[in-house]
């Protein structure tokens, strides 16, 4: 079991789809791929699409928080969508929803950012 990271750019928004299990072992690949896309690309905002993220622990919270700080320091916004119940619980427990808005679908998440940019 591992993790796949799918990146897709919609104008100035980077959509990051995570599939599989996000833990300490797989956190590095998320960090590198997102960092690379954010620093190289022309994206201001990020949509984290987590429909197929089956498992996440506190290492996942760490890597998401790290990318949030990067995006925020560049004046952008990061939002989350399509979160499974177990992952949602972890976000709630850690207070991450206080800084990341949650949307039902990728489409509504993207729409919220079109208004911002």
């Amino acid at each position: 079991m591992s993790l796949q990271v799918e990146l897709e750019q919609h104008r100035n928004v980077l959509v990051v789809r995570l599939r599989g299990e996000l833990d300490h072992h797989t956190a590095d690949i998320v960090r590198f791929k997102m960092e690379d896309a954010i620093l190289r690309g022309r994206c201001d905002h990020v949509v984290l699409s987590l429909k197929e993220l089956q498992f996440m622990d506190s290492s996942g919270l760490g890597v998401i928080l790290g990318r949030y700080k990067l995006i925020k320091s560049r004046g952008g916004k990061m939002v989350v969508c399509d979160v499974q119940a177990s992952v949602k619980r972890l976000f709630e427990l850690s207070g991450l929803f206080k800084i990341l808005s949650l949307y039902e679908t990728e489409r509504s998440a993207l729409a919220s950012l079109e208004v911002v940019s």
Binding site: M1, S2, E21, D23, H24, H25, A27, R31, F55, D57, S58, S59, L61, G62, V63, L65, G66, A85, S86, L90, L93, S94
Partner: protein, 148 residues
Amino acid sequence: MSERNFMKLSFASRSENESFARVTVAAFVSQLDPTLEQLNDIKTVVSEAVTNAIIHGYENEPDGVVTLEAEIEGDTVSITVSDEGRGIEDIELARQPLFTSRPELERSGMGFTIIENFMDELEVTSEPSRGTRLRMKKRIESKKALYN
């Protein structure tokens, strides 16, 4: 169901063993017929404890040994994760939400908080340069128990 059942295994302190450890315990606990949510709680806490042993106990050195034990007694599962690494100097401080000794590694500092929330009991014992042992307990009110 009052018989006792247990398992014990040791593995290298390599990050690829984090998923191995949580899947193994989940498979063992399945005999209590837990809900998906309970099973996910168990997988998460095993992942947290094993990751702590690897990152903090052995500072990411792959040649340490992590020992994982699980025991079922009645409807309660006890899980023990231990290492022979560097130990925790101040356990109270380590258990504080958002505290991390390794901010440069992008740790969230939520590991112990998650374990405390997902399990009924957590006991931490540690001795500097001797190692750390986490003992956790959770009662599984299984579907089976409801019918009996």
